[in-house]
């Protein structure tokens, strides 16, 4: 595992607005898929833009693969692929797009690209990318991004607009694409899409990181369980009523393994992050 992103003492705000990020620190490592969660306006997209050098911090440093992000060094840029939520509009055909952009990415794998397009059922012979639907465009750019073999892949709401089979395909692709040289950051509200693939969960609340834990640590510390009745127990950290009864987050004292429910975890952290912080620090 190699450190690919190192953010320290970051401060950022948009013009004429209050500070969005203050004393923000984050380290990301290769070989991991990171889920970036947070409510609207907490700075997820801003953070991705800062990492990719599209926005500049007021204070602090953002080092990406050894380069200062805001300098947008081409060596850094060919190792960073960012898929924004609002995707790029182009009238090029896939073939033309490849002819133009592949030379910018020396590690591009045409084999991988064709494989991913095939898995997403996208016809490489289409006359223009603009003729694709929003979801198909997204799939095309995801396939292109993964095929660049970039060391850092930043995806902002990648599954918005994807149909159900494509979401499944997306998860398989992510699991397939991750390796020791690559780090993937996925910012999303669609937490179900992340549950099976993330290695690390990062949560933003009130413009700061309130939770940053590996999936393994989460499973060691917490049990996700459901119950028909509301149980009163000191070990229960958080409980919420759903259509299937009560979903509960319980302190794991027995070493029992359970499947992570990111939505429940997110709600629990937002509700009482001090208790969870204490639990993870203990």
């Amino acid at each position: 595992m190699k450190k690919i992103v190192d953010i320290s003492r970051l401060e950022f705000c948009y013009k004429k607005q209050d500070k969005l990020l203050t004393n923000f620190n984050l380290k990301l490592y290769t070989g991991s898929i990171n889920g970036l969660l947070g409510k609207n306006g907490e700075g997820k997209t801003t953070l991705l833009k800062l990492i990719s050098g599209l926005l500049f911090p007021i204070k602090g440093d953002i080092i990406v693969n050894g380069f200062i992000a805001k300098q947008r060094n081409p060596i850094m840029l060919h190792d960073v692929f960012m898929l924004p939520e609002e995707i790029y509009e182009t009238s090029l055909s896939i073939k033309m797009y490849n002819d133009i952009y592949i030379p910018f990415y020396p590690d591009f794998s045409a084999t991988k690209f064709h494989k991913y397009l095939n898995e997403f059922n996208i016809d490489i012979g289409i006359s223009s990318i603009s003729n694709l639907s929003h979801g198909q465009k997204k799939k095309f750019f995801i396939a292109f991004g993964l095929a660049t073999n970039a060391k850092l892949i930043l995806l902002d709401e990648p599954t918005n607009g994807l149909d159900i089979p494509s979401k499944r395909q997306f998860r398989i692709m992510m699991a397939d694409a991750i390796n020791d040289k690559c780090c993937i950051v996925i910012s999303t509200h669609q937490v179900i899409d992340l549950e099976d693939i993330v290695d690390n969960v990062i949560m933003l609340e009130k413009h700061e990181i309130i939770f940053n834990q590996t999936k393994e640590t989460i499973c060691n510390k917490l049990i996700f369980k459901s119950s028909e009745n509301k149980e009163l127990n000191n070990d229960i950290i958080y409980s919420e009523l759903t259509t299937d009864g009560y979903q509960q987050l319980v302190e794991n004292k027995t070493g029992e393994k359970s499947k992570i429910d990111l939505e429940l975890l997110f709600n629990a952290v937002i509700t009482d992050h001090h208790r969870i912080k204490n639990l993870f620090n203990s």
Partner: protein, 254 residues
């Protein structure tokens, strides 16, 4: 991948532009060519070139540097200097060359139409870059034809560099803000210049011009070194604006 200036990457950026805007470019230059078949007056052609040039320049910056397209553009693994170079090539060299080509094609179309269909011989109009002035020669005024190609190109490059910088600085109302900024700065510099000239050499005459770089320092009391400095300065102004644009591009956020 190296970070030195790469002509290959500039070429790829240009290729990207042409592939993405192929139909629009064809349409635009066809319209311009057709316009020149109807109106080939020298002043009109130059006016079209300057106005379309600034619109082209602003559109280019707007398309490249805003929203999702802007994000995509800034994330292309090329240096800022390569990105700026491709922009300058497009909005200055290419636009100038294409206007000249459209003018030539428009002219030829008219001539060929007259000669082959109407059988009327029409002389070829090649005076786009020729300026005729009357010169007093031994008491007689005689027309003198000057080739002003480089002057027109220099002025066009200057105008384009101004609007490139303007569109990098201002997000909205680029034309108005750029023009007012130029007028404001130009007027300020002119006043400063007048003050210096008046104080040190009691200068009586400067030719009329807002922008001091274009002021012809015609008063003989001003030392030659200053005239030379202003002349050199006028040539360096466009590259200076490119350098400022480069730094602005480096600090541009999307």
């Amino acid at each position: 991948m190296n970070i030195d200036f790469s002509f290959r990457r500039v070429g790829l950026l240009l290729k990207r532009y042409f592939f993405e805007n192929l139909y629009r470019e064809i349409m635009f230059w066809c319209i311009i060519t057709f316009t020149f078949t109807v109106l080939d007056n020298r002043v009109f052609v130059l006016l079209v070139m300057f106005v379309s040039g600034l619109i082209y320049s602003i559109r280019l910056q707007k398309e490249l540097m805003k929203g999702s397209n802007g994000m995509h553009y800034f994330l292309i693994p090329a240096t800022h200097s390569e990105k700026l170079a491709s922009t300058i090539i497009l909005n200055t060299l290419y636009h100038f060359g294409m206007t000249f080509l459209s003018y030539t094609i428009g002219n030829l179309l008219v001539i060929l139409t007259y000669q082959f269909i109407l059988k009327i011989p029409v002389p070829v109009n090649w005076d786009l870059f020729q300026n005729t002035t009357l010169v007093n020669s031994s008491g007689f005024f005689q027309p003198e034809i000057k080739n002003v190609f480089w002057s027109v190109f220099g002025l066009f490059a200057f105008s384009q560099s101004l609007f490139t910088l303007g569109s990098l600085y201002f997000d909205k109302n680029v034309v108005t803000k750029t023009i007012f900024s130029v007028l404001g700065i130009g007027l300020g510099l002119l006043l400063l210049q007048l003050l210096i000239f008046k104080t040190y050499w009691d200068v009586k005459y400067l030719s009329n011009a807002i922008f001091p770089m274009f002021v012809v320092v015609s008063d003989s009391t001003i030392p030659g070194i200053f005239k030379t400095t202003f002349l050199v300065g006028s040539y360096l102004f466009t590259p200076f604006l490119w350098v400022v644009s480069y730094y602005r591009l480096c600090e541009k956020e999307v």
